[in-house]
């Protein structure tokens, strides 16, 4: 059994040696890294979408661990669940942020808004924007080249071939805001998802004067201020020839929808239209 003995001894010595050296070196060169960063990172969705404003989930985790007050931080993808889970790790409280969703504020379909020129350049909204106002009379409206769709990492958008407008698939939307940043015309907005996903908003961003706007697009906001007057909650303001509904004030009474002469105000996910509402608007997301 001599061989066995030698084996045991040599391996044993080797093992102990390794252990001793490792121990001392580890002692000497100790570096502290907050282990909570890893823990927080683990609960994050790892989408690395940048919706939180940090480059990647790890950076966000670092920010969460380092900052004392995390109320400004929000992971839009993970939502409240993720945030409270992360907060629990850090022993902090987190205020529940309202769930948001992206909406497209343009209804300039091919029908509503006739094309007056033809664009023939690279398929990119930004490039087209820097070139000219667009192929219709409305220089604010959607160009239909789909940059927002490309920007969406969650498969929550597609281009409607018929209308030439992007459509948001609500269930997939995580409100990361990538499409909002991508749109050079600032047509897409993150709005409060609303109770039962019901929302009302002005589906137009045209700041031209009424006549010009109407000429370019039949469903444009013409800044007639009728909605502003009828709104019982002062949620609507008309500025720069354009009406805007504050989603924090809107109580979803739908009066403005009926009042709007150009059907520029859209409502989403309401029960089938009562007789009062004459024409359900073409905005999809049904």
């Amino acid at each position: 059994m001599n061989v066995v003995l030698i084996t045991i001894i040599s391996l044993g010595v080797l093992g102990s040696l390794a252990a001793i050296i490792l121990y001392f070196v580890a002692q000497k060169f100790k570096v502290f890294e907050d282990p909570r960063i890893d823990q927080v990172e683990e609960v994050l969705p790892a989408a690395n979408c940048g919706g939180c404003g940090y480059p990647g989930c790890r950076a966000f985790a670092e920010a969460m661990v380092k900052s004392d007050d995390i109320s400004d931080l929000n992971c839009p993808v993970g939502g409240a669940d993720t945030m409270s889970a992360a907060a629990a790790i850090l022993g902090k409280e987190v205020a529940a942020a309202d769930p948001m969703v992206a909406v497209v504020r343009c209804n300039g379909t091919c029908e509503n808004r006739p094309r007056i020129t033809e664009y023939d350049g690279a398929t990119s909204c930004t490039i087209a924007t820097s070139l000219y106002g667009g192929d219709t009379g409305c220089s604010n409206g959607c160009l239909g080249l789909g940059e927002c769709v490309d920007a969406c990492a969650f498969n929550a958008m597609y281009m409607d071939e018929e209308t030439g407008l992007p459509v948001i698939i609500e269930d997939n939307c995580v409100s990361c805001g990538a499409c909002v940043d991508a749109c050079p015309k600032n047509i897409i907005e993150l709005r409060k998802k609303g109770p039962k996903s019901r929302r009302i908003f002005v589906s137009c961003v045209n700041t031209d004067k009424g006549a010009a706007a109407k000429k370019a697009c039949s469903v444009a906001c013409i800044a007639c201020k009728k909605c502003q007057k009828i709104c019982p909650f002062d949620a609507i303001t008309v500025e720069n020839n354009l009406a805007y509904i504050d989603y924090n004030k809107c109580k979803l009474c739908r009066k403005c929808v009926a009042e709007c002469p150009t059907n520029a105000i859209h409502m989403i996910n309401f029960p089938p239209p009562k007789p009062k509402v004459e024409k359900p608007v073409a905005e999809s997301a049904e």
Binding site: T7, S10, L22, A26, V31
Partner: protein
């Protein structure tokens, strides 16, 4: 001249990655960018040379005299694993930027069979200590050459539209295959 042959053989003819199939995991894993490829090459070179030296003496001073050659695998890998961990710990403290650059690769190196493979091959080929070191360095260079070239191609492919099914690993493997194909031209030089 012998050293030249060892070097040419290890780098071109019997390239450790492209014809010996050693170190494939890091070759595929950290070759997405040239810069990480360079980092990995640095780390591998470093560890490979030290490991080869240490295991060489281990073999000559312990295993052979005591007639326990069959402990080669276990003792070599123990040494290499400890060594890697050592390097990692030291690097973290001494040079954080270098650790940032190489650190992520270090744990990978333990399981980089190129290191153990080279250590064992050195013994198999019955090299002396100088030859062993030359051999280790040459293999590290060979590894780096393959890795960095490969990373270059992958970086370029990243900018292109590879068919969906081939994206990622499959196309990387095909590229590696074609590189290996090209390197077969060096056959017979040594």
């Amino acid at each position: 001249m012998e050293y030249v042959l060892i070097v040419i053989s290890a780098i071109f003819v019997n390239n450790i990655v492209l014809s010996q199939f050693l170190g494939i995991c890091p070759f595929l894993g950290v070759s997405k960018k040239i810069s990480t490829g360079i980092g990995m090459t640095g780390a591998v070179t470093f560890v490979m040379v030290i490991a080869t030296i240490v295991t060489f003496f281990l073999q000559k001073a312990v295993l052979e005299p005591f007639g326990v050659g069959y402990l080669q695998t276990i003792s070599f890998i123990l040494v290499i694993a400890s060594l890697v961990q050592l390097v990692e710990i030291i690097l973290k403290k001494v040079s954080p930027p270098l650790y940032q650059a190489l650190g992520v690769f270090l744990p990978l190196i333990t399981t980089n069979c190129a290191i153990l493979g080279v250590a064992i091959m050195t013994i198999q080929k019955d090299f002396n200590i100088v030859e062993s070191v030359v051999f280790a360095i040459a293999n590290a260079i060979g590894f780096g050459l393959a890795l960095i070239t490969f990373a270059g191609i992958r970086e370029q492919l990243d900018l292109m539209d590879i068919p969906k099914g081939m994206k990622g690993t499959p196309i990387a493997l095909v590229v590696a295959g074609l590189l290996a194909l090209a390197f077969m031209g060096f056959a017979g030089i040594v």
